[in-house]
């Protein structure tokens, strides 16, 4: 217990020895983490936006005009039994015409000129959430096209593909930027710890000579790194939260994006906790790098 207190006191002492450098390191780390956080926040919000929009994705299964009532009932049963189908609505030829006239009143005279209803009957299908990815929708559409009585399957494929691509690119950017800036954070913390190590090199030499183990020598510096990482990460969350609230208010005031506003979310508490833990991990990594470079990794 006394040894633990000693190590904690040493870690606190290290921070105090280089107070100004420590503050600079925390602030720099915080802004570095905040840059990663922007991408992460963008990724999480776009993903939830995509998920919310995908809920509205519907596919139209058009039925052949000459299909008998029995075959239609059989097709309906087959579609209902499909695991990819969450909900199903039948739209008759007459209903389709009425919908068209309602939606496009100026063009409805064109159809009246034809004398007969050219619009096919269809099933409007809402896909189950696990089948809403572009690949799944594609596979499902190909399968349904092959069913007896189906003339065509239509869905907003371009929209789904584009949305998935955007989320994928943001995800890749978040990973790329995250990796680069995490390395930067490790370097910043490593350099701060290195200064502490340099300031206390004589003490380290003495401790080694009187029988201090590697763990005893390293723990205060690892704790110092962990503290820098945790504080940097927590500060970055504060910066991000302020920026997020400001951005959210701006969106709210811009009437064009009112639909998006209710979907915007800051990181949940669990994600905040994970980000602080990541900060702790990167801080420890920075300390370790510094200890190795300083020659503390070997006797």
């Amino acid at each position: 217990m006394r040894r633990l207190f000693y190590l904690l006191r040493e870690a606190y002492g290290n921070v105090r020895v280089n107070r100004a450098i420590t503050v600079v390191a925390i602030v720099t780390t915080a802004f570095t983490f905040a840059c990663v956080g922007v991408f992460l926040l963008l990724y999480l919000n776009l993903r939830s936006l995509a998920a919310s929009l995908q809920n509205d994705i519907k596919a139209g299964v058009y039925v052949q005009d000459d299909l008998s009532a029995g075959a239609l009932a059989e097709l309906e049963q087959r579609l209902k039994g499909d695991s990819a189908v969450a909900a199903l609505t039948y739209v008759s030829k007459e209903q389709a015409l009425r919908d068209f006239q309602l939606q496009f009143p100026s063009d409805s005279q064109l159809l009246q000129g034809l004398g007969l209803n050219p619009l096919p009957a269809s099933f409007v299908v809402t896909l189950a959430p696990q089948f809403r990815s572009p690949d799944s929708v594609n596979r499902w559409a190909e399968r349904v096209k092959g069913m007896d009585g189906v003339s065509q399957v239509e869905y907003s494929r371009d929209w789904i593909d584009m949305l998935a691509a955007i989320v994928r690119y943001i995800e890749l950017a978040a990973i790329g930027v995250g990796l680069i800036l995490s390395t930067a954070s490790v370097t910043i913390i490593a350099n701060t710890i290195r200064l502490t190590l340099y300031a206390r090199r004589d003490e380290l030499a003495i401790l080694r000579l009187i029988g201090a183990t590697r763990a005893f020598l390293h723990v205060p510096y690892l704790l110092e790194g962990a503290l820098l990482g945790a504080l940097g990460s927590a500060l970055s969350l504060g910066i991000l939260w302020i920026a997020f609230e400001w951005f959210s208010r701006q969106i709210h005031m811009t009437h064009k994006l009112q639909v998006v506003h209710p979907l915007l979310r800051f990181f949940p508490v669990q994600v905040c906790a994970i980000l602080v833990l990541v900060g702790v991990g990167l801080g420890c990594a920075g300390s370790y790098v510094s200890l190795i470079r300083f020659g503390e990794g070997r006797e």
């Binding site: 006394r2 080694r208 000579l209 009187i210 029988g211 005893f216």
Partner: protein, 222 residues
Amino acid sequence: MIQLIHVTKYYDRRPALSDVTLEIEKGEFVLLMGPSGAGKSTLLRLLIGAERPDDGQIFVQGRNVTKLTPSEVPYLRRRIGVVFQDFRLLPKKTVFGNVALPLVVQGASGSEIKRKVTEALRAVGVEHKKDQWPATLSTGEQQRVCIARAIVNGPIILLADEPTGNLDPELTNEIIELFKLINARGTTVVVATHDPQVMAQVNRRVVTLVQGTLLVEPRVAV
């Protein structure tokens, strides 16, 4: 207690120790004499595992120091006290804090630390200085504190590297008497020095090193 068998150590291809064979018995007081650069400090550093020989074997209390893994070295050092010419006291710790360090490193309890540090400081005659900072002490007192730190955990061996190098003749006498006292309690003492005054005062076994070569008959059966 200590055995060196055909030990050779090079620095930049120049031999600091050449084929040194030496045995020191338990409870002996040995003076390691020789001019600067003779290899005295190198020999002491080899004994505490701070260096590895390029050739030969070193045994301390039956354990082959040359075969120790890096994680085993600290445990060897806990059984050996080391006194330095420049004292190497931590300026930001009090006398008590400096002497307590070897015990803190070993995870001793608070009461044990207090008892042992007080005993060690009393043994070297600076108990009344326990709350002072090293910078406020005289050189003789600093060396006494350094000795207290070396003996606080009851080492089996005490190594001193030019312990009187920074002291005047009177203080040298006091420090040598202190080493004799520690030796009389059963600790094996090895003092590296080039000071003839120390040799005259100690009147014990003298081992002489010149340019890394030992000038006495080896007593180890090899």
